[in-house]
Point group: C2
Chain length 396, copies 2
């Protein structure tokens, strides 16, 4: 059977999932790590009102003479909502963030002030020096004017962005949707952690890998199920489609006699070998109007298939940039199979060169966990001496 | 009042929170991004049993002659738990992952096989070539032997690590604890997004900033509350301590006349100025046996205080490495205040140099959100010409 070129299948996956892109409105308080799909504008000017930057005294700068007493005409606290008035020839005690009284044009910090009677009635205050007009005043609109952009479109929201949005009084924002992903692993040999395995059985790990990879790259997982090889797959697939934008399956698509995924979905999509290793068997189908991306069942194939075919597509839907590849030289000679793009699990050496890790077996889940990167070898290259420059991809 | 040197206060915070470190046991399925506190060993050898790497035929290699027929003595599927036996002079159809029959020493892929009658009774099969002994067999223990380390201590668990643990049949693991953090913002001027502000009021943003920063750096947030400046702080603080390992407060610790945090906790800890800007006023106390870290209330001070005082302490408790600083040159001249370590909000220029962003005002929350890094200027330096090398810290 002719192998589909990798780039063709990558394009097919991207096209199949293109309809998942969209936007939604979410509260700012749960928007950490989401990506804005539109600029967010300030509903109000900030600060909302002239206020004091210090604990101290609000004055008219021209009325202050070093050493001369001013009557303290009142005390203004943060949270006061009645705007006070500074009477001529007086000062008012003012706390940080409290509204500046009408008539005041400067604040003198408490550290440079000498009040006669603390916070009692009829006290007076004397200052070391006259202030510059405007000193220690935060003017309304200093930070942002109403209608200005607070956060640009395409911003992945870090804590400080959420802080700016909250401070600006923004309650909800428009962000890129996180597609809802359902996951089904297949195989009659699969058992869950905690069970005591009999010979012939295998601990299921692919659903957890797909769940955590999807979560890391902008999706949310709404369903996790598993099916044996003998009949229940279609039922579980239909259930998975209820709340999902996309279904990912593992296993059941190769050349065996019990391949429930391929057998159920063959008439609803494309199945065949892709010119990549590991991860050769692939499928792409539609069930109940929901796209289904069918990955092979070996643990290493699952990771490579996700990274190569799905990672950047899901990231794009969530408004995240694609993961950047790097270039590095090989630490030693390697050979590669002809006709397939090969993805070797590898690690970086201290000198920045890279070397493959472990054997080619796509069942070596534990060995592969130590890899930090994928080394990509193109389909036409079979002999790569040490020092050859190759493309590498960081593993999630 | 003498300012406490920044390094002294950093050490005091670290010492105050040292008791929060610990370990806990969690299910592997919810361990994404947690950090292992002990090596995890394989409970079983993997693969658990010799099995086929391909869909094909299990044979004795010595019995295969190109073009000669062998009787197909049975069919073995993944998940079969009764170990089959390969009779002399026969082959058995075998699926990927199915247990190798006793007596077989090689698998020949279906692509290199010619079976007479599909999956019916009494079929025969003929092969193009004799296999190497061991071909396409995954041997028991190939990947990992029982008792070997699957994941080292100190590993931050990525999807592939979870995959390895699940595949190895590991159900629970020991990880560094995530400390439970309670957050209280204080200030009578504070209102929530969605409210219509009156002059004198300010949208509260610090609790969301502290919540998301804590979450990003290995903690979990169990309580978010707010208090005015006039009496309810102690009640809310007591409630916050119920389920928290650590309480973070914002505001209420400076020189004003209504400073509920300082007034409540002065006898239970240390309050005073730290030689840093922004973020000068700081406090560190204990309430109901729970450490309380008291941060200033300005939005920019909150971010800087967290990054400088708390970030790496919380990361250490969660088993995460400290954030690495960088060195960069200034894009233009700057001046700094004497006697305080200054942290300017800045951005990188295309040439790698850095420049400060916006003004010094610690209330400029929206302006500061555009910053990507903090530029650290030590307490003794006041004049820094363009080209001076400085330490920078990436903002979360």
């Amino acid at each position: 059977m002719t192998r589909r070129p990798l780039a063709d299948h990558q394009a097919a996956v991207a096209a199949h999932l293109a309809g998942l892109a969209g936007t939604e409105t979410v509260p700012v308080r749960v928007a950490l790590d989401r990506t804005t799909s539109a600029p967010v504008r300030a509903p109000y000017s900030l600060p909302l009102f002239d206020n004091s930057a210090m604990d101290g005294f609000a004055v008219r700068a021209a009325e202050v003479s070093p050493g001369a007493d001013l009557e303290v005409g009142g005390r203004i606290f943060a949270g006061d909502t009645t705007r006070p008035v500074l009477r001529a020839g007086t000062a008012m005690a003012i706390m940080t963030g409290a509204p500046l009284p009408a008539g005041a044009d400067a604040v003198i910090p408490v550290e440079a002030s000498h009040e006669t009677a603390g916070s009692g009635q009829q006290s007076t205050v004397r200052f070391d020096a006259a202030p510059e007009p405007g000193a220690f005043i935060r003017s309304a609109g200093d930070d942002v004017a109403a209608g200005e952009v607070v956060i640009a479109a395409g911003t992945r929201l870090a804590p400080r962005h959420l802080g700016a949005l909250a401070a600006a009084g923004v309650e909800t924002i428009e962000v890129h949707r996180r597609p809802a992903v359902a996951i089904i692993s297949t195989g009659s040999e699969l058992i869950r952690a905690g069970a005591t395995p009999q010979a012939g059985q295998v601990f299921e790990s692919n659903s957890l890998v797909l769940q955590s990879l999807s979560t890391k790259h902008g999706a949310r997982v709404t369903f996790i199920g598993s099916a044996g090889d003998d009949g229940d797959f279609a039922t579980i697939l239909t259930a998975a489609c209820q709340d999902a934008d996309l279904v990912l399956t593992s296993g059941g698509i190769s050349m065996g006699e019990r391949e429930p995924v391929r057998q159920t979905l063959a008439e609803h999509g494309w199945f065949g070998p892709v010119a990549m290793q590991p991860g050769g068997p692939q499928g792409l189908a539609t069930w109940k109007q929901t796209p289904v991306c069918c990955l092979p069942g070996n643990p290493v194939s699952i990771v490579v298939s996700f990274e190569v075919l799905l990672r950047d597509v899901l990231r794009g839907i969530a408004g995240l940039p694609p993961v950047a590849s790097n270039r590095a030289v090989l630490a030693h000679d390697i050979t590669s199979v002809p006709g397939k793009t090969q993805f070797l699990r590898g690690v970086s050496e201290p000198d920045g060169s890279v070397r493959p890790l472990g054997g080619p077996g796509s069942h070596l889940a534990v060995t592969a966990a130590a890899a930090e990167l994928l080394i990509e070898i193109d389909a036409d290259t079979t002999e790569l001496p040490a020092g050859t420059e190759v493309t590498t991809w960081p593993l999630t």
